[in-house]
Amino acid sequence: MATVSYNKATRIYAGQERPAVNELDLQIGDGEFLVLVGPSGCGKSTSLRMLAGLEDVDRGQILIDQRDVTHLPPKSRDIAMVFQNYALYPHMTVYENMAFALKLRKTSKAEIDRRVKEAAQLLQLDEYLSRKPKALSGGQRQRVAMGRAIVREPQVFLMDEPLSNLDAKLRVQTRSQIATLQAKLGITTVYVTHDQVEAMTMGHRVAVMLDGVLQQCDTPRALYDTPQNVFVAGFIGSPAMNIKTVPLSEQGASFAQMILPMQREQIAAASSGGGKVTIGFRPEATDLVGPHEGGLPIVVDLVEDLGSDANVYGHAALDGGSERFVVRTDRRGMPSMGETVFIKPQPNHVHAFHATNGNRI
């Protein structure tokens, strides 16, 4: 168990201008479950591999438990990693897969046996111990990969999209298993995923990355409630937040016929945006209103009935262009395709961002 710190850690691949990871600063507490999330190519996997020692650190430092590991080989870092494709040793049985690291460390046979059996029980792998990975299902392989990490009793767990090869149902199930297991073992965990639902449900804190730069690192709730910039606002939440750049007026943002009120400081901060401001409102913080209540009329393109509620996708002509909108509504008010409905963002749930730099104001 340990803390992990990235201090301005930078990775630049040979022959590339832009760093894959750019001055990453991140402090991860003892026993914390931190999720790195972002679209593909954002540097989240590279960051994890830098921590694992599989990728060089060109500038900056990485500390595990206050110890500088920046240039240590992977084996001296006391970490365990779960790979996307599990990376099980194909010619070894499940038992040998889990015992391999302990065997290399010259742990006694009895101790190896005890730890492997214990992990196998925890992961319900008892009956598969003598099988080769080839003879296991995807979910079982995933559990073996977890088991291989657990028996090590490392200081830090690293997980690189460990659920992306599972089918949807198993993924949800395993997601909660991993979170429970981590809580039980209390081992500091860094988890990489591109799936924001995974990030929000599993992480104590979530770090959102884009183009090698950390955008925001906060609790799932804070990310959802106060996204620090337009990218985080659009990335977190499903369906994504409606984000539009609209003219700025003296009272706030003028959106269609509505004025979405903003505070004086916000308006002052937004004024350098060329008379524009970017507003965002979540589908679930938007109401369908009657035709004469001043809402924006949109034409419904698609309705997703989710059982408990429904997502309404539509478009509207706004400032000469066609803009797309999503609204979440309960099933009673569900419109049908081609119908025109009127939407109105809940004024106290509107996020405002600077029109040019995209930062929250």
Binding site: A52, G53, L54, P73, P74, K75, I79, A80, M81, F83, Q84, N85, A87, L88, Y89, P90, H91, F100, A101, L104, R105, K134, R148, R152
Partner: protein, 318 residues
């Protein structure tokens, strides 16, 4: 089309039957263009073998034209009990085993060196393959004259130059007569190492990278990764290279014929067959020996095919 409405029976997926004459005609229309090739192949490859098989059971020596007749297993008995033949079998085994093992080891080493990226890797790889592309007889001649020759060969020339640096009298061994079998082995190893290297390089490059990374995180040193991950992964490729190499080296004739003419105890089975046929003119015994070589090759080939198919199973099972 009288049967078109008939319901197919359970479990049969065959289309409704056409009149058998028409069906046969259409089947032959498809086969006929292939026939010349088939006939040609049978005439060229199968008939000679059948003839060899028949002759191997016959008493047939060109020096005794009056005694041609059926001999039963006599020829085989003579092949297996004759001292020369037994020596030839032993030489064949020794030659094949040493060539295959040494070229596998060298090929593995070179493959490991080439399995990393460096400037001009493509050019180096192509040049490494060159020996395998040289015509076997040409390669044997090259070794015999350009390298081994005690008067003007490169080896003794190099020794002269090296010793000359220290002003000493250089040794000038006659490579072929002092170590005949090793001379042949060396020339064959030179030819077969690239082949082994190619197969092993393909094996190395199909190694899953994340497994190696997992092993590194698990604390394995480079040597431990090699013995625990790389070698087990390469096992099938090593088997494949070994078996394919064996099939070809067992039949080798060019190198033995060119470098030593089978002298000094280097006559392997193919060479013994050649000698019995063309020098002793004992067609029956030569054929019997040839059949023995074929049986030996078939045994090795069976293992080779098994390895190849297990390799394919593995690849498709991924």
């Amino acid at each position: 089309m009288t049967l078109a409405v008939e319901k197919p029976g359970p479990g049969t997926a065959t289309p409704p039957e056409r009149p058998s004459g028409a069906r046969r005609a259409s089947a032959w229309a498809r086969r006929a263009p292939l026939l010349p090739a088939l006939v040609f192949m049978i005439v060229v490859t199968q008939l000679p073998f059948v003839a060899t098989l028949v002759i191997s059971f016959m008493d047939w020596n060109a020096y005794y034209p009056d005694e041609i007749g059926f001999a039963g297993f006599d020829n085989f008995q003579r092949v297996l009990t004759d001292v020369n033949m037994r020596d030839a079998v032993w030489t064949t085994i020794l030659l094949t085993a040493s060539v295959v093992i040494i070229s596998l080891l060298l090929g593995l080493g070179i493959a490991l060196l080439l399995d990393r990226s460096f400037r001009g890797r493509g050019a180096v790889r192509t040049m490494m393959i060159a020996p395998f592309l040289v015509v076997p007889v040409a390669a044997a001649l090259l070794w015999k004259h350009a390298l081994y020759n005690p008067e003007y060969g490169l080896f003794n020339g190099a020794l002269t130059w090296l010793w000359g640096l220290f002003g000493a009298d250089p040794p000038q061994p006659d490579w072929i007569s002092s170590m005949p079998l090793s001379a042949i082995v060396a020339s064959l190893v030179w030819q077969w190492t690239p082949f082994m290297m190619l197969i092993l390089l393909a094996g190395l490059q199909s190694r899953p990278l994340d497994v190696i990374e997992a092993a590194r995180i698990d604390g394995a040193t480079s040597w431990q990764i090699f013995t625990n991950m790389t070698l087990p992964h390469l096992r099938q490729y090593l088997e494949l290279g070994g078996l394919l190499g064996s099939i070809y080296v067992v039949q080798n004739f060019d190198a033995v014929f060119t470098i030593t003419s089978g002298g000094l105890g280097t006559a392997n089975l193919p060479y013994a067959v050649y000698q019995t046929f063309y020098n002793a003119h004992d067609y029956g015994r030569a054929s019997a020996a040839a059949v023995v070589v074929v049986i030996g090759t078939i045994i090795i080939a069976t293992f080779a095919l098994r390895t190849v198919s297990s390799l394919f199973r593995e690849e498709s099972g991924r």
